[in-house]
């Protein structure tokens, strides 16, 4: 059967906040937009974002975008690009107002203005008093935004391909992206979507680690497509871990539990944070607590039959306190850990939460294909959201800046695409060789016979990533990890599906996802191995200091030969003075 083809002005892969905000700009400008989403759009991972969106609206306390910029640069441990950060903090304000006008039900003050809450890392006057910068829609901000943007896109006649899996980008001999080969999950049939512009908005990749707070859909599909298209990923070694996820499951147990007096113990019942942070103890910063937990486990003081986690003790607290101040924790622990925290401690381990790195872009969402500081973007290819790296989070992301990132850069990418399509109104000729290559990769999963199952190799891979490229990073174990993940990549050829039917073949979809995760996992492991300093979320006990002289630069990773190159941080903002690197103290 001939391959079905459809043509659009723009193809957007992913239907979270970034993809939908971009799509809305384009559909409102009467462009023909296709949005491909492997799950129904309002089930994208944006729905899990409860916190809110930072914007210096100054509705509650004095604020301005320049203070927001300072906090973001400092939070990034000076690895963020200051032109992009300035742009994001300025554009935050119109972006939030546009969402408000589109119908997002933000929580409000008595005077009718948008309510703003205070979060860690927010300051007035460049490191002074606490600021209140986060706009929220109760505790369902992500859902409210996603739902509103989806409805607006339906109104604007965006074309949705729901439950379609994007397999590979199609490109011509000059490297220009012509669209993508996608798979209809319901029928198993491939579809070629040709587009004048393509935007990747496929979200994060937390599923590469055994313990993650990310939904199962976060398998780094867009990042892996970029790697297979011969393009790089940037700063993939920077991965934020939350110290207390439910062990072996990943669901977050909020910091509030320790704030209310909960504390961590090892198998001997020792309150070990007293050793690592004698003053702050269990309320030390996230990275310190996460590393302490892993150090205990690696030192043989872990709990459980596998000695692979520690315990979070809350059963000394009053049952009423737990019910009143920590709602949901009791139910969550009962369901996912099988313990009632009123009676027994909760098994916990650091959980992979957010990736700062991704597809390198400029501040308009245009993909930057080289390490050349003055290099140009790749025409017609865009990325936004957690799959991209603009780079505004640098080595560490602030709370409230992740929803902001996806919304601002989704919107700006959409606006830039409108200009691009106006100037480049024709489709380029299809490159049949590229289509064949994508089809071959897709069809290879038809191979039958004995082999490893997808779930076996996935389990081995995610455990290897957790043990060798997770929170605890020292040279020899990371080197071993890179070799192990390479060996796992080789084993992919031996994986065989257990289901060869066409319709709703989740086994095949999961195989395609596993292939993506392994490529993305290697980008993390290799990038982390070679960054010989500690900065932001990347912590190396063997190189404990930040090294600005040698390492204030971005890592670029290419799949071919696991090649690394580096490029300078853009420390010059657009209209204000640069913030020079300082020691990061909170």
């Amino acid at each position: 059967m001939a391959l079905e083809k459809q043509r659009f002005d723009t193809l957007i892969l992913g239907a979270g906040g970034a993809g939908l905000n971009a799509a809305l700009q384009l559909a409102n400008a009467n462009l023909k937009v296709a949005v491909v989403s492997k799950v129904f759009p309002t089930r994208s991972h944006t729905v899990a974002a409860q916190g809110g969106v930072n914007a210096a609206l100054a509705n509650v306390l004095p604020d301005n975008w320049h203070w927001h910029m300072f906090d973001t640069v400092k939070g990034s441990d000076y690895l963020g690009d200051q032109d992009a950060i300035e742009y994001m903090c300025r554009e935050a304000i119109p972006t939030v107002y546009e969402l408000e006008h589109n119908g997002v039900p933000f929580s409000r003050l008595a005077n009718g203005k948008i309510y703003q809450r205070a979060f860690g890392g927010q300051s007035q006057n460049f490191g002074g008093d606490q600021a209140a910068r986060t706009c929220a829609a109760a505790d369902r901000t992500g859902h409210a935004i996603l739902h509103t943007l989806y409805q607006q896109n339906i109104r604007a006649k965006t074309h949705f391909f729901d439950e379609y899996f994007a397999a590979d980008l199609i490109r011509d001999q000059e490297g220009i992206i012509l669209g993508a080969l996608v798979l209809d999950i319901a029928t198993g049939e491939p579809l070629l979507i040709e587009a004048k512009t393509t935007l990747l908005a496929t979200g994060g990749c937390g599923q590469v680690f055994r313990t993650t707070s990310n939904a199962h859909i976060n398998t780094g599909d867009g990042k892996a497509m970029i790697l297979r298209a011969g393009l790089p990923l940037m700063d993939m070694e920077f991965f934020q871990f939350h110290p207390t996820g439910i062990a072996g499951k990943g669901m977050l147990i909020t910091e509030g539990v320790r704030g209310e007096g909960g504390y961590l113990i090892n198998k001997d019942g020792e309150r070990f944070m007293e050793k690592y942070a004698p003053n702050a103890k269990d309320l030390a910063s996230r990275d310190v607590v996460a590393r302490s937990i892993v150090t205990e486990v690696r030192g043989g003081r872990g709990c459980g039959p596998e000695a692979d986690h520690v315990m979070l003790k809350v059963n000394h607290l009053d049952e009423e306190v737990i019910a009143k101040r920590l709602p949901g924790i009791r139910e969550s622990s009962k369901i996912f850990a099988g313990v009632d925290p009123v009676k027994d401690p909760i098994p916990v381990f650091p959980t992979a939460h957010y990736v700062m790195g991704g597809i390198p872009t400029d501040r308009f969402g245009r993909v930057m294909p080289t390490s050349d500081d003055d290099g140009d973007h790749l025409p017609g290819l865009y990325a936004a959201g957690e799959c991209a790296c603009a780079s505004v989070h640098g080595a560490n992301r602030l709370g409230g800046n992740s929803l902001l990132d996806i919304l601002v850069f989704g919107r700006l990418a959409g606006k830039n695409i409108i200009d691009y399509v106006r100037d480049n109104p024709s489709h380029r000729p299809l490159d049949e060789a590229s289509v064949s290559s994508a089809m071959d990769r897709f069809n290879k999963w038809d191979a039958k016979g004995d082999g490893i199952t997808v779930s076996e190799l996935r389990k081995e891979f995610r455990k290897t990533m957790e043990d060798h490229a997770g929170v605890f990073r020292v040279e020899d174990m990371m080197q071993e990890g890179v070799e192990k993940v390479r060996a796992i990549r080789d084993k992919l050829a031996d994986v065989r599906l257990t289901d060869h039917s066409k319709t709703f073949n989740t086994n095949r979809t999961e195989a395609l996802e596993l292939e993506n995760m392994i490529d993305v996992g290697l980008s993390i492991a290799v990038s982390a191995l070679h960054r010989k300093e500690s900065r932001g979320a990347h912590s190396r006990p063997d190189y404990p200091k930040r090294d600005d002289a040698e390492w204030m630069k971005h890592t670029l990773y290419w799949r071919e030969g696991d090649k690394l190159e580096y490029k300078g941080v853009r420390s010059q903002p657009l209209t204000v003075e640069s913030f020079p690197p300082k020691e990061r103290v909170y």
């Binding site: 492997k38 799950v39 309002t42 089930r43 994208s44 991972h45 944006t46 729905v47 899990a48 369902r140 992500g142 859902h143 996603l146 739902h147 439950e163 999950i185 319901a186 993650t212 707070s213 990310n214 939904a215 199962h216 859909i217 499951k249 990943g250 669901m251 709602p327 949901g328 009791r330 139910e331 969550s332 369901i335 996912f336 850990a337 099988g338 313990v339 289901d499 039917s501 319709t503 709703f504 073949n505 989740t506 979809t509």
Partner: protein, 86 residues
């Protein structure tokens, strides 16, 4: 032996259990595997209806301890809450 058609229906539902929240991924898929086929046709239909609801509502009912405001879902949600995922 479950017929092929029924197996495909379960695979279709398995994909519907892919949500935006990890808690729902884990809980709903475990429920599908452990309990779905032994549910009455009425509860199976309710499960399909539940999967059409927004994630925060399913989360509030199945994980957050809130009771469904719609009586129709109470029995199903109580079953989901008993699913073993620990």
């Amino acid at each position: 032996m479950i017929p092929d058609e029924e197996l495909k229906n379960i695979e279709r539902l398995r994909w519907q259990c892919r949500r935006g929240m990890l808690e729902l991924d884990v809980l709903l898929e475990a429920f599908l595997d452990q309990q779905y086929t032994s549910l009455s046709p009425r509860l199976q239909r309710h499960f399909l209806q539940l999967l059409e609801l927004p994630d925060p509502i399913i989360h509030a009912w199945c994980v957050g301890g809130e009771n469904p405001d719609d009586e129709e879902f109470v029995e199903l949600v109580n079953s989901i809450r008993t699913t073993s995922v620990a």
